[in-house]
Symmetry: D2
Subunit: 364 residues, 4 copies
């Protein structure tokens, strides 16, 4: 009997459960494979007692249309930065990776599939270099990886953001207001750009293109005549004014790498008021509503494809790789390359041209 361990790390993402289900279903077609899940990324292995669940077909029944991950996830801890409390009450990060690899051997784990973002895949690469049979499945709701055409969860986030634009349009029009919709996207503006095009927003501000506040004002003024008019602005959480910088709080807790962004929608209202924009403005921050809930069919299919491929890479002992989608194929990319280059919005991107073609101002 061979054993596969699955872990999910980083922020949750619609489609994670569909990946897990696909791996388990595919593995069940082989006579000699058993699948386990480590609770809260690798922390389930590192803790004493360990927190591990058996994942069989019954356990994963119906989970493909559930958001989140049944084996939980976390941004804290992990094999290379386990938090340990010092005598003086402070916290230090400790490397427990060798211990973890030993533990996995004792548990007869033959292979590991690590589903996670760039932070998680850096860990995958380091564990692979230490000899672990590991395979990565990319997870980024922001779609900011250049090694794969797209990633699951992204289209669900775009769909939720677009439905929010749809909702705000009618209330904006009824009240002659400008709505600022803040969506996810720390470094990459894909969610904002897609939602702006799909929803028919008037302005879209993204991290890649720091905005000229006067250009934003100008675009909005055009929408009002004699006090009547309205507009919706879609803004990535990581967007910022030219000459300014992203608004974020670094979270200093040991082993916790998350930096929280947000607040740009409110900031934008202030900036516009300061330069004399007079219309009624309101902000809406989508936040975690973009992560949760039922993945759309597109993402469930993509997740199933990733999951089945990942298990087949295990069968082929194609370790140290990440599964990636390169239309119309699914390929195995070395982990090292996979996370090297981010996929950011560039000015010559077809969607940028389309946004401009629709008359959407990018504030530049």
């Amino acid at each position: 009997m061979k054993r596969l361990l699955i872990a999910t790390g980083g922020g949750d993402c619609p489609g994670l459960n569909a990946v897990i289900r696909a791996i388990v279903h595919r593995a069940s077609q082989e006579d000699d494979w058993e699948v386990l899940g480590s609770i809260q990324a690798f922390n389930g292995i590192l803790r004493e007692p360990t927190e591990i669940v058996v994942l069989d077909n019954k356990m994963v029944s119906g989970i493909h249309f559930q958001g989140g991950t049944i084996i939980e996830t976390t941004n804290k801890g992990g094999p290379f930065s386990w938090p340990v409390k010092e005598k003086d009450g402070s916290w230090t990060a400790v490397d427990r990776s060798d211990e973890m690899i030993r533990k996995l051997k004792y548990m007869n784990i033959d292979a590991v599939i690590n589903i996670g973002g760039d932070g998680s895949q850096e860990i995958s690469q380091k564990l692979y270099e230490k000899g672990l049979n590991i395979i990565g499945v990319p997870k980024t709701i922001d779609n900011d990886l250049s090694s794969t055409d797209t990633t699951f969860g992204f289209q669900t986030a775009v769909q939720i953001a677009t439905e929010s634009v749809d909702k705000l349009v009618t209330t904006a029009a009824s009240h002659n207001r400008v709505f600022m919709l803040e969506v996810m996207g720390r470094n990459a503006g894909w969610i904002a750009l897609n939602a702006a095009v799909a929803g028919g927003a008037e302005v879209c501000l993204i991290p890649e293109f720091p905005y000229d506040i006067y250009k934003v004002k100008e675009a909005l003024e055009k929408r009002f005549h004699h006090g009547r008019g309205f507009a919706v602005v879609v803004v990535s959480e990581g967007a910022y004014i030219q000459g300014g910088h992203m608004i974020y709080q670094e979270n200093k807790e040991v082993g916790y790498k998350n930096k929280r962004l947000g607040g740009i929608a409110a900031q934008l209202i202030k900036e516009l008021q300061e330069i004399g924009f007079q219309h009624d403005m309101r902000e809406t921050v989508l936040g975690h509503l973009q992560r949760g809930g039922v993945p759309i069919a597109y993402d469930r299919v993509l997740s199933a494809q990733f999951g089945v491929r990942a298990f087949e890479m295990v069968l082929n002992q194609n370790f140290g790789k990440m599964v990636a989608y390169r239309h119309p194929n699914f390929v195995a990319v070395p982990l090292k390359e996979a996370i090297a280059t981010p996929n950011l919005v560039t000015s010559d991107n077809s969607l940028v041209k389309t946004a401009k073609g629709l008359g959407i101002s990018l504030g530049i």
Copy 2:
């Protein structure tokens, strides 16, 4: 030819357009009625030049599944508090009600249907006392009127809030977090209470029951064992701690009565941290997402019922009344009574008992 004028006032509400469409369709069955809409409540009449649109069957085609109001709405101005700029730059509120009634006569308006909340219906009553043939249609997304069993828009808001709970549950469970979902409800907790019961939240805090923060902490602690667990708290924007008060900003601008609430979700997190609750907590503020978008079928039916009844009250010259639903009938209630008593959550309400029966803590 007789003329009916429709106005929509206060915050927008899913179903407003369905009411307008129903009035127009019903009126088109009479040979001698024409329907007009005043843009932005009564301001469309008060402005020079007036802002009025003709509402015929073509104009209202397909609007019943659109959020908002095609004749727009506002919280500013109105016949009894029209803002006038003084020489020193300050603003004064002026009574232009007599002038407006004269204007309506010049325009051969035979009757007015005013769709709006308690503020709007107070105006209706005062205009009625001054001799205007006016009928009210209640509009409150909070469902806080005791003169009618229910009002349109409320169930759509509950549906949106419930879908948000559904989304947060999966992300909360995946991250072992507590989510605070802030929903509408200044004085009445109906949206929060319904969404908490429908979504299966663990805690529900409403304005009617100021909460004991230690009780909230206790209810949440129960959900965690050895660091694992999660919870969703649904909190009305008007909720507040025992001994505290609602968090709001009075908007002092002349002719603008809106007070903005909000921020209680973030406040609650602080309060819990202060008394030593250690788990990861996040807030989500639904805001205007609850107002916009496609009304659910329930609200569209209710809106159609209100609209048809309101026009028939015009035909019967049953003025100075508001249409109200008293299951299974629709009745005409004198405007004066209609807005007298709010419908607040009481401790003996069946839904409160059900919430408790499900194990939902009300923080009391």
Copy 3:
């Protein structure tokens, strides 16, 4: 320790699981109650070996937003008509009710909650007369019970039917077609009538008002000018032409009472073609799509209310009754009365007047 048994019978209905969850949550607040579920109505008790599951808080976690019933349901068998195969291969219905009551005693079942339609509640009444401590919870997606203001599942069915009208309107308009949407409703036209009003259909045909096909033709002709135009007709499965009769197949299998309707949409197209209506017509039969899926918030709240009340009736030993909603209260109605009078659409109903007020033809 006391034991409660839950059974669900008849066609599945959105909200069944929310009722089960509410009963279980409420029961868990008492120290001395255990809840069991009988698989496939009472057949789980009648079979050897019995098919029974323990229903605790963990078992019902998250089921309130799932359609269907986790304890399954059936239209076949039951204590009063258990199918037994004769030597000649034919089937006979056998009364096993006394045996079942004895079995429940051996199993220390103190009370039974039977969630089901009129067929199921007739069984409840007969079992009550034989001494069983039984309580009924009404389940009818058609909302055709006069003893309760409304029942769970109905608004979800209306919502799904309305969303279907919304979808058909755009395709009908694009193709200049007439769409016949066949929705549930054997004897009662509530789903059709609500969906027609909410969706803005042009014609609505229901079982209570056998239609004049020439009136239907006339209403549809009005929608076309020079070959352009479109219309949506919402038709209950039980609707039929004046002088005609319902289209249905009696299912003669022993112990299986279901009669299948359907086909009226296709029939209507034929009838219209026969009298010379020339426009392109298509039918869509919603079928089981109306039963499945996530219940809307309204139905989840209603289900929770029914469930908590039902368990409290058990606590109060208020047996032989059915829980009913009479706005704003939940009351206990003797089972005998509860199922006596159906709730059918009458010509003086407010919704019928509203439909007419909107210009919807009822084909009469």
Copy 4:
């Protein structure tokens, strides 16, 4: 002033309006272009009087989230097969293409964008060969064109089909039934295959792989133990049994090329009953519900991309071409090539492998 004419032909498809809006918005950025729409494909030009509408930014406001096409569509008539009634009452198809091209010249139409399926693009090619400045935009809800990675409307159809699977799963499980869900797909099984993978169906039958009914039975039997169990089968309308043929009705009316499929779900039930499959089976035919309604964000974005590119091809006088998506670029493909090769499901396709990997039977 230059003039562009838009026509939409064939079955309607979610995203058509978003393409129209994108063309109009992009054209409005040029000083010298006016956009017109021909009602019901080219029939609006061919009729006397012509049926043409001016398409400006106001006219297309908000149409991107509406299904259907505001300039209507049809399968009848067209420049090469205009139906003319003979003296004996029969119909003949007449070629009016030269006349139409002359008419377009008189109307000062400088370019035409024809949005439609393979039938429509064959017409485009023939008109191009006759000298018309024409550009094609592909429209096929079945995603069966190999010249473009994907087409708009397809993902919306997949989403609707998947949501239907989700709904049927709960009712199937509650009733221990097998549901046959018939979805669109005459020659290509993409919708069925995607919905089966996304929804977690047990069996998926598509036109490319005629099924072995014994294999279908075998796959379904596995899902039942002692009478308990359930399954969902997703079947393309064009699927058929090995040795059999597609079920369809040829529509013989002149100028009307549509052949109607459908009925395979009911047929499948009969076939299974004939070979002794005993479980309760029901069919659901999605039909036009897949075409209508709000396009998902993915399709709206794709539509916007197609629309903007198509207009830019007009600007660049890149006629006789069809816009196509080849990730990550949008390219211009000669019309002749564009419609040459269909995109069918092949046994080595990655999604087929994934379906098998999940344990979905393809009946082969």
